[in-house]
């Protein structure tokens, strides 16, 4: 009883502290998202990584966090609610994590090992009442190797895995922890929890109006004083129409918009808006079918296609808002390696390879690509795909498109090249943008034989025993440097075998009012909004 009252009082104080500043001259950061609705607030959000960016990582923390402090270096992982982690030297299937002392949930309760155990039960154990099937499914791919989580002491936990997995720290960065105390307060009603969520993140929940806005206020008691927000209130609004977002920024209704259209950027700049962009772990490529008898089965055709794409021309078409892709990651990345096959635009070399393969402009080969009209991370899919289509026609590859909406393309991707409807439609490639944030997701999932669709992301059923062997070693290599070098070796082999047609990396453009200052766009899908200030 006393405990409950104390927690309520602490929560009240936290909220009161937040509002005490807002009462005078509240500084508000208003953001227009590309999402069609406010992301859900019960933990892992929907609306893709945008949901994590504006709601998930602001209300909640993970045990291990992304380092979002730098715009220059690839974004790695740093301590979050766990201060340290190590694999048990005697048992590679067991990780020991020390938890951060002195952290409190937004509801005022202290953060303990019991809470972490409860959270993993909530995602792993369908027999407990707090299990949530949709939340579990949304992170299942990240926690598939976790068998269970045990409390060692009040501030230490052990994570037991089914197999040795050196990549667990990266996976934990996606797992957001919610307050079991708030869940109990609302008597296990997740809908009620979503209307008054409680995490440990740098923002406290203030208000949610479905399809209109979510308002968060700064958590003055946040455990990391450096990340206490420098503005009082964050308002995130769903605005799926790109023109509407630009108009909202230009008319002063919002301070920040996600993904402005390339052709609106000159107008935004003319009005004094800042365009911020940076490389981030994303690829926009053509993934290919490796089914027998398929034109892409010939490495010469794959290499020729890679050499035919005029990436610089495409970049110009997009107003500079892309990075020319020569692999799943950029050449300066630790996982890039030293491929012998240099991806560049060289039409002569492409024509020569096509001739060797028995094709050419006079004897074209036909392929069919599944593409979408729009979609999360798809950039400008129609003009970009048509651009590549023109490039490939010049060397004797005639591309036909199977155009579908985003939802249908996701299904085509998930079911893989062997799905009856895909085979019946004669589709032998797919343009599907991907996240390459952590090493397995960046490299091995596209190439390993046992990641063939529908189980994994190897859409076209590529198989290369050498890559399989390197990837198998990489996932059990616990030394970070050796692990990075193994992933680089796998990636090098992928490029040398021209596993896909690499075209672009997105640069995640966003436009903001000149009043917005202090934002550092990290090389990550997620961003730290806490240092942002908004001038009156």
């Amino acid at each position: 009883m006393w405990n409950h009252q104390l927690r309520a009082a602490l929560a009240g104080l936290a909220v009161a502290a937040s509002f005490s500043t807002s009462a005078s001259a509240e500084s508000v950061l208003r953001v227009a998202m590309t999402a069609g609705d406010v992301p859900i607030t019960i933990g892992h959000p929907d609306q893709g990584f945008e949901g994590y960016r504006f709601v998930g990582y602001n209300l909640y923390d993970s045990l291990i966090a992304w380092d979002l402090s730098s715009a220059d270096k690839p974004s790695g992982i740093v301590p979050g609610l766990a201060t340290s982690w190590e694999v048990d030297p005697a048992n590679k299937n067991r990780w020991i994590l020390k938890l951060r002392e002195g952290v409190r949930w937004h509801d005022g309760a202290p953060f303990t090992a019991d809470d972490v155990v409860w959270n993993f039960e909530h995602l792993l154990d369908s027999k407990v009442p707090h299990y949530h099937a949709a939340q579990a499914a949304s992170v299942k791919a990240r926690i598939i190797s976790i068998k269970n989580v045990e409390k060692v002491d009040d501030m230490t936990i052990a994570i037991n895995t089914t197999d040795p997995t050196a990549l667990l720290p990266y996976q934990l960065a996606y797992v957001l922890l919610v307050s079991p105390h708030r869940y109990k307060e609302v008597k296990g009603d997740w809908d009620a929890f979503g209307k008054n969520p409680s995490g440990t993140g740098p923002y406290l929940f203030s208000k949610l109006v479905p399809r209109e806005r979510i308002e968060l206020v700064k958590n003055t008691n946040y455990w990391d004083p450096k990340r206490i927000p420098k503005h009082d209130r964050l308002v995130a609004m769903p605005m799926p129409e790109a023109t509407t977002r630009s108009a909202a920024l230009l008319s002063g209704q919002v301070d920040w918009i996600e993904a402005p259209l390339p052709d609106t950027i000159p107008r935004l700049e003319k009005a004094g808006m800042k365009i911020v962009s940076n490389a981030y772990p994303h690829i926009w490529s053509w993934e290919l079918s490796y089914q027998p008898g398929n034109p892409w089965s010939d490495v010469r055709v794959r290499k020729a296609a890679n050499l035919a794409v005029d990436r610089a021309g495409m970049k110009e078409m997009l107003g500079g808002l892309m990075i020319e892709s020569t692999g799943n990651v950029e050449p300066d990345h630790p996982w890039y390696g030293k491929p012998a096959f240099q991806i560049k635009t060289d039409k002569e070399a492409a024509l020569k390879l096509m001739k060797e393969a028995g094709y050419g402009p006079g004897k074209p080969v036909k392929v069919k690509m599944a593409i979408s009209t729009a979609g999360s991370g798809q950039m400008q899919p129609l003009p970009m795909n048509e651009f590549v289509q023109e490039n490939l026609r010049d060397i004797g590859i005639n591309v036909e498109f199977e155009v579908m909406d985003w939802n249908a393309l996701i299904e085509t991707q998930r079911k893989g090249v062997k799905a009856p409807e895909t085979m019946q439609a004669g589709i032998n490639g797919i343009n599907f943008s991907r996240n390459t944030q952590e090493p397995f997701g960046a490299i091995c999932r596209f190439a390993q034989t046992d990641q063939a669709s529908p189980k994994g992301a190897n859409w076209g059923h590529y198989s290369n025993p050498e890559i399989d062997a390197v990837c198998a070693k990489a996932v059990v290599e616990f030394d970070p440097e050796k692990q990075a070098s193994l992933f680089a070796e796998a990636h090098q082999k992928m490029v040398d075998d021209a596993l896909m047609i690499w075209i672009a990396h997105d640069v995640n453009p966003r436009a903001m009012s000149p009043k917005v200052k202090g934002f550092v766009q990290s090389k990550n899908w997620f961003q730290d909004l806490t240092p942002v200030t908004v001038a009156p």
């Binding site: 069609g36 609705d37 859900i40 019960i42 929907d46 893709g48 369908s126 099937a133 949709a134 579990a136 499914a137 949304s138 299942k140 791919a141 598939i144 997740w190 809908d191 979503g194 208000k207 109006v209 479905p210 399809r211 209109e212 806005r213 609004m237 769903p238 605005m239 799926p240 129409e241 023109t243 509407t244 108009a247 909202a248 230009l250 008319s251 002063g252 209704q253 579908m404 909406d405 985003w406 939802n407 249908a408 996701i410 299904e411 085509t412 991707q413 998930r414 409807e421 599907f432 991907r434 997701g441 999932r445 529908p454 189980k455 994994g456 992301a457």
Partner: protein, 317 residues
């Protein structure tokens, strides 16, 4: 009359049932899956299967439909796959916002259409008539998404007189009948009103011009009835076809517009439907379309009743 009303209400049942069956079938005929956009691209198939079972998507489609229908008959519209919130709550909130916008558009479109259409019909063949006809053609021809964007650029971006998007600084929760809130209604109302304005104005013009050409009007004038008295008879005779068109347009307006609501980020049923279509949020799609269809049927019934009151010949027919 009571028998007529009861009969019309009974007609609404098969219509609603038909609409729900067509809608359900279309959702499943379209490629894509309700759970695709919810889950990351590398979600294991067993996790997808578990979630499908939880939402009942693993059952045969006819069973899913019957299960849904059974729940709806008991007042349970289910929960949204995307947000986890009750569908009825989502529809209620969106519908109130759409009704507000629709009512304003009805007021603007109907009033202006009757005035300019009436003037055009009364002054048939004169310059005023040509002006009215031009306005009507403009209203019918201009795509409303284009008009919406142009209005935003002119009045919100360039002149900074009106807000570009949304329902106010605090959204629909803070919407009130104050000047600040009403400013948010102006641009979407004009955009939404333009098409029905054109359609109704043309109908009013044609109907008034036609009635004015009838012999009884000449008789009324020959008998020395004042022009105001003549007009009263003309309006009464011209009202029936106009009411029918107005009824249809009323149904369209209160049904919400996906395009207008998306352009202005107006959180109504159009915005809700657009999001539900993209995400294949079947419970939201089904519930919203059913409610809108019933409202459309109800509106048509009210218009029919009004028509029979004005012109008893319709009931006898």
């Amino acid at each position: 009359m009571l028998y007529y009303i009861l009969r019309r209400i009974l007609y609404a049942v098969p219509i609603a049932l038909g609409v729900s069956i067509v809608c359900f079938s279309l959702v499943y005929l379209a490629p894509g899956d309700p759970l695709q956009t919810l889950l990351p691209d590398d979600t294991p198939p067993e996790a997808v299967a578990e979630l499908k079972a939880k939402y009942g998507f693993d059952r045969p489609v006819p069973m899913q439909y019957l299960f849904w229908l059974g729940n709806v008959l008991t007042g349970d519209f289910g929960t949204s796959i995307g947000t986890g919130r009750p569908v009825i709550e989502e529809i209620g909130r969106a519908l109130s916002n759409t009704l507000l916008l629709g009512a304003c558009a009805v007021a603007v479109a109907f009033t202006l259409a009757i005035i300019i259409g009436g003037v055009g019909g009364y002054l048939h063949g004169k310059v005023s008539d040509k002006v009215v006809t031009s306005i009507a053609i403009f209203g019918v021809s201009v795509p409303n998404y284009w008009l919406g964007i142009i209005l935003v650029i002119v009045f919100a971006v360039e002149l900074n007189l009106l807000p570009a998007v949304g329902m106010g600084k605090s959204g629909s929760q803070g919407f009130g009948l104050d000047l600040e809130s009403l400013k948010y209604l102006i641009l979407p109302t004009i955009t939404l009103a333009l098409v029905p304005l054109g359609i109704i104005a043309r109908t009013v013009r044609a109907s008034v011009a036609e009635v004015l050409g009838h012999e009884f009007v000449q008789t009324l004038r020959a008998k020395g009835l004042s022009e105001r008295g003549v007009l009263r008879h003309v309006v009464k005779n011209a009202a029936a076809p106009v009411l029918a068109v107005m009824g249809l347009q009323f149904g369209h307006l209160i049904g919400g517009s996906i395009v207008v609501e998306t352009v202005f980020s107006w959180p109504g049923t159009g915005f809700l439907l657009n999001n539900a279509i993209l995400r294949r949020d079947v419970p939201i799609l089904q519930g919203t379309i059913l409610v809108l269809a019933l409202m459309f049927v109800l509106t048509n019934l009210l218009v029919d009743l009004l028509q029979t009151t004005l012109d008893p010949r319709i009931r006898r027919a």
